[in-house]
Amino acid sequence: MWKYEKRLQYPISIKKKDLRMAKFLVTQYGGANGEMAAALRYLNQRYTMPDNRGKALLTDIGTEELAHIEMISTMVYQLMKNATLEELEAAGLASHYAEHNRSLYPTDANGVPFTIAYVATTGDYLADLSEDMAAEEKARAVYENLIDLTEDPDVIGPLLWLRQREIIHFQRFKELYDYYKQNKKEPR
């Protein structure tokens, strides 16, 4: 089971409303390479990892991704806070308003809603871990794209931080992958 900690993993304080950036950033909430896909991917794959190392790592990284969902959600919320209807319309968010008013909703930057189809599980732990490594690299690349799209240090700070987490997670998945390659485990 899970317990909630009433704090962000890394502090976020965005003072400047920026609907344009909110529209881009939401992809790390509900996009193919976003944090929700990451959390569900690892937490879903962990059951068929061949040993306790894999089960532990996917549980713990999957759990951290839940905290990243909260960070991204917080950023989108703060970027959109107190937006007027006119501002939403001007930023191309009138359709978001029509469906969701000012609530959060997990989509990618094009407004395509989150789908679990972004996530694979094959039952082959090497294939699954390869997907996880690719997912971390893609998320890192998207964080870099997003950093390129803003000049607000309150936004860039957390994005740089989250980008480093992708690097660490990639490294741990790769180490586990290499370990399994060298110590052949029977699939289960």
Binding site: E5, R53, A56, T74, Q78, L160, R163
Partner: protein, 148 residues
């Protein structure tokens, strides 16, 4: 909390007791690659050899401007350090030096949580017991703390 933080790119933090404590923690090989908790936390990466800077961007220096922010930063950085070692130990469960360091950071993180909660409310529901007032919802939520 976060009107209580300056997000200063360059200045040294006002509070940094951990640097002294942990600059040379142990002499095992993996530990030599570790940043102390504050430096590791602001980078989002405790492992010096794994850090990869993006373009010219340096990590944001988090400078607490009041006691609540300072106590929360303690929780954040020590929990982060313990979590980083947690992920490492998932893959290398037999690294005794890292287990020692993990124990140390986890214990310090637990103490930091207690110190924060004593003044600024529960961080987990576990911390509430034997209480007359249900203070779980009496304090700001993480996404709106900057409004305080």
């Amino acid at each position: 909390m976060n009107n209580n933080f300056s997000f200063d790119q360059y200045d040294r933090p006002a509070m940094n007791i951990f640097e002294q404590t942990f600059l040379s923690p142990n002499n095992s090989l993996p530990v030599q690659n570790l940043k102390e908790p504050y430096e590791g936390f602001i980078r989002g990466n405790l492992f010096d050899h794994l850090y990869r800077q993006y373009q010219n961007y340096r990590p944001t220096r988090l400078v607490p401007n009041n006691e609540q922010a300072e106590l929360l930063l303690n929780v954040d950085q020590l929990s982060f350090a313990a979590h980083e070692l947690n992920l490492y130990l998932d893959v290398y469960p037999n690294d005794a030096q890292m287990i020692n360091l993990f124990n140390r950071y986890q214990q310090m993180a637990n103490e930091a949580v207690k110190a924060y909660e004593k003044k600024y409310g529960p961080l987990t529901i576990n911390s509430l017991s034997n209480t007359d007032q249900f203070s779980w919802e009496a304090y700001a939520w993480p996404w709106e703390m900057e409004e305080k």
